[in-house]
């Protein structure tokens, strides 16, 4: 009974694209789910397609794209939902777009990046062959609620999985490794060991530094960032699980957070049985997803966008820009629904320490003045406040020598990209 939704869905995609209304990344799925609420379950049940889910607060899009390029390099037929279209309607849309008109899905692998709240819903519909859980950080508290609540609902879903699924988990995140406690699924762990990634900075945005079993404060032999590290509880003895992988091939992506994304993709590829050379080759050639360290040329200047949507991604982006020797920075703070309406998280960032050496700084967006306030209380004095993003980009670019780095929230990233490239993406 899924032919009709697919035909209708494909027509909607065609119309959206022809009229330049966007890529049709959510509407076709939305309609299909109205026609058949079990559309995702029904379509995937009949296929041989292996299903890979990618979940976590930060890094879903980059990891999904990495896996896609690795699998393609090794000759597999793959499809992936569009970046950010990670609710049920986005996943259904991806299935429609990959299906033939006959309703058949002739792809070896389906990769879905999945929103934190959507993961339990999708696990009610389908049994994944592989599930990657990258991390859990505080993010959009107004929309997602508190991360402990997310972890609890995830754990319930994970407990229903069987040995036909493999969980690929971040051992360095205490909250994520806790999810493996009582599941029957196979479990493998990735994490870091190399001292080059150890940080000594104060971690103000750390969320889960208290033991989930006994409530004592965790001790860390090494901290990589936020609450990620080599952790243990001296009170009840729980500790970081043994790692199946801690080193991976060379990548051009900057930042410790991307090392985790590369490790997760590499470990998954090993479990699937992809040739090591194929994995290394695709990782070395990998180009960032849009808005995630993507470089856009504007006249004779280079603009690089680092999506920064919560305190951890903001801190890690800023740290990476500092390591790259960045001199020009534009921070864009919006508080629309996709960004989260609560922007109090900017006070948990370490902008005090991380903006040193950056000379040309501007703030923009719907909440430009609130960001300016944060900068003022961080002790910064010379920065430009321009709520209009188009003008802010123009003014910051004019006075820039070298690359301009933009740190936007989600909707601000889409807007900035549209201004810089003149193209609509979602």
């Amino acid at each position: 009974m899924n032919k009709l939704p697919i035909v209708i869905g494909k027509s909607i995609t065609f119309i959206c694209r022809s009229l330049n209304l966007g890529q049709g990344s959510t509407w076709p799925g939305h309609i299909a789910l109205l026609l058949n609420p079990n559309f995702i379950k029904d379509t995937l049940k009949k296929t041989e397609t292996k299903i890979i889910l990618v979940a976590g607060t930060n890094g879903k899009t980059t990891t999904g794209k990495l896996i896609k390029s690795i699998l393609q390099e090794s000759g597999k037929r793959v499809f992936l939902n569009q970046s950010g279209a990670n609710l049920l309607n986005g996943i259904a849309s991806a299935i429609i777009s990959a299906s033939e008109l006959s309703g058949r899905l002739k792809r070896g692998y389906a990769i879905f990046e999945v929103d934190e709240n959507t993961l339990p819903l999708i696990l009610n519909q389908i049994t994944p062959d592989y599930l990657i859980a990258l991390n859990l950080f505080r993010d959009q508290l107004d929309r997602y609620g508190e991360i402990d609540k997310i972890a609890r609902t995830w754990k319930k879903s994970f407990d229903n999985l069987t040995s036909s699924s493999t969980l690929v988990l971040n051992a360095d995140d205490p909250l994520i490794s806790f999810l493996s406690e009582s599941t029957s699924a196979k479990v493998v762990f990735f994490g870091l060991n190399n001292d080059q990634f150890v940080t000594n900075d104060e971690q103000n945005a750390a969320d889960s530094i208290y033991c989930l079993y006994c409530g004592s404060k965790l001790s860390y032999r090494k901290i990589f960032f936020s609450h990620l590290g080599d952790w243990s509880c001296t009170n009840c003895g729980h500790k970081r699980p043994v790692l199946n992988i801690s080193e991976s091939g060379k990548s051009f992506l900057s930042g410790t957070y991307n090392v985790y994304n590369v490790l997760a993709s590499t470990l998954l590829s090993q479990v699937i049985g992809i040739k090591k050379t194929d994995v290394e080759k695709s990782i070395a050639a990998f180009k960032p997803a849009f808005g995630r360290q993507e470089i856009i040329r504007k006249g004779d200047k280079e603009v690089q966008i680092f999506l920064s949507k919560n305190p951890t991604s903001f801190n890690e982006s800023l740290k990476t820009i500092q390591q790259l020797g960045g001199k020009n920075l534009l921070i864009v703070l919006n508080d629309r629904i996709p960004d989260g309406k609560d922007i109090s998280w900017i006070w948990d960032t370490n902008i005090e320490f991380l903006s040193k050496g950056i000379k040309n700084i501007s703030v923009s967006g719907d909440r430009a003045h609130e960001m300016a306030l944060r900068m003022k209380y961080a002790g910064l004095e010379n920065f430009l406040v321009e709520p209009n993003l188009e003008k802010a980009i123009e003014k910051t670019l004019i006075s820039a020598t070298g690359s301009l780095y933009i740190l936007p929230t989600y909707s601000a990233m889409l807007e900035a990209r549209k201004i810089l490239t003149g193209r609509k993406i979602l």
Binding site: R138, L141, D142, E146, I147, D148, K149, N204, A206, D207, I209, Y210, L212, G215, K217, K341, D342, I343, S344, W345, I346, W347, D348, R367, H369, E370, A372, L373, R374, K376, Y377, A378, G379, V385
Partner: protein, 251 residues
């Protein structure tokens, strides 16, 4: 020569009770002291802290957190409840946001009906009406007798707080939900302490209130009247007015 004035802030459980950017309140108090050449020392007091630290402080701050963190904190703070009550009743100034505010009361009834005992310092109680009722989330504007200007913040709470007769609300809700979404009250004032649901964080955007708290701490400490040197609050006002306009509140 006049000796430099100073205040010490005790920040209760910074690594547990800091989910909603409440750290911004500490940053703000410290900066506004320093800009006026008032020394400001912040003591971070975590689980197992020594009571004498609390006694030595001129101002106490505690923020909000998730349920799990809050349970760890209650277990520790219960051991110190008597002393804290004594200090508050004797006039120790302080600011208690969201979870900390709820904890000061008689009890907190969770969404599933379980009742958690509060510290019993302030005559108020909080009840979460259940999983299927909506959380109070969004920008909020209140009018308080403490400041001339309207106060702006962001609230995000499931619990509804009801005040007893012996305490006054911190302010009247002009836009948003406040204590319980019904009686238009927001927060409490009791002795020299303030309880409130306002995150945002509350202090950076509301400098009149921040300065009130600094002055109160100095006056309690030195026993004389103080007048704080005015600061340039341009950016603060722009940030506050931005939200007031959106809420269609006159400023």
């Amino acid at each position: 020569m006049i000796k430099k004035k100073s205040i010490t802030i005790a920040w209760l459980y910074p690594d547990l009770m800091n989910t909603y950017g409440d750290r911004g309140n500490i940053i703000c108090l410290k900066k506004r002291c320093e800009w006026r050449k008032i020394r400001c020392e912040v003591k971070e007091l975590n689980v197992g802290f020594d009571l004498s630290e609390l006694k030595k402080a001129d101002f106490i701050f505690m923020g909000g957190a998730q349920d799990r963190q809050q349970k760890i904190v209650s277990a520790d703070l219960f051991k110190k409840a008597k002393e804290l009550k004594k200090l508050i009743d004797a006039g120790k100034p302080g600011l208690y946001i969201c979870g900390a505010y709820q904890l000061l009361g008689e009890y907190y009834k969770e969404a599933d009906g379980t009742t958690i005992k509060g510290l019993g310092i302030v005559d108020l109680y909080t009840e979460n009406p259940g999983m299927n009722t909506k959380r109070f989330i969004g920008n909020v504007a209140i009018r308080s007798s403490i400041t001339e200007e309207i106060l702006i913040g962001f609230e995000n709470h499931g619990g509804r707080t009801y005040l007893g007769k012996s305490v006054n609300p911190f302010g009247k809700v002009i836009a948003g939900y406040g204590n319980n979404g019904k009686d238009k009250t927001e927060g409490i004032i009791y002795k020299n302490i303030f309880g409130s649901y306002l995150h945002g964080p509350i202090l950076p955007k509301n400098p009149q209130f921040t300065d009130y708290l600094i002055r109160l701490s100095l006056e309690e400490k030195y026993g004389t009247k103080f007048k704080l040197e005015p600061l340039n609050d341009n950016i603060e006002n722009l940030a506050r007015v931005e939200i007031a306009r959106r809420l269609k509140v006159k400023v």
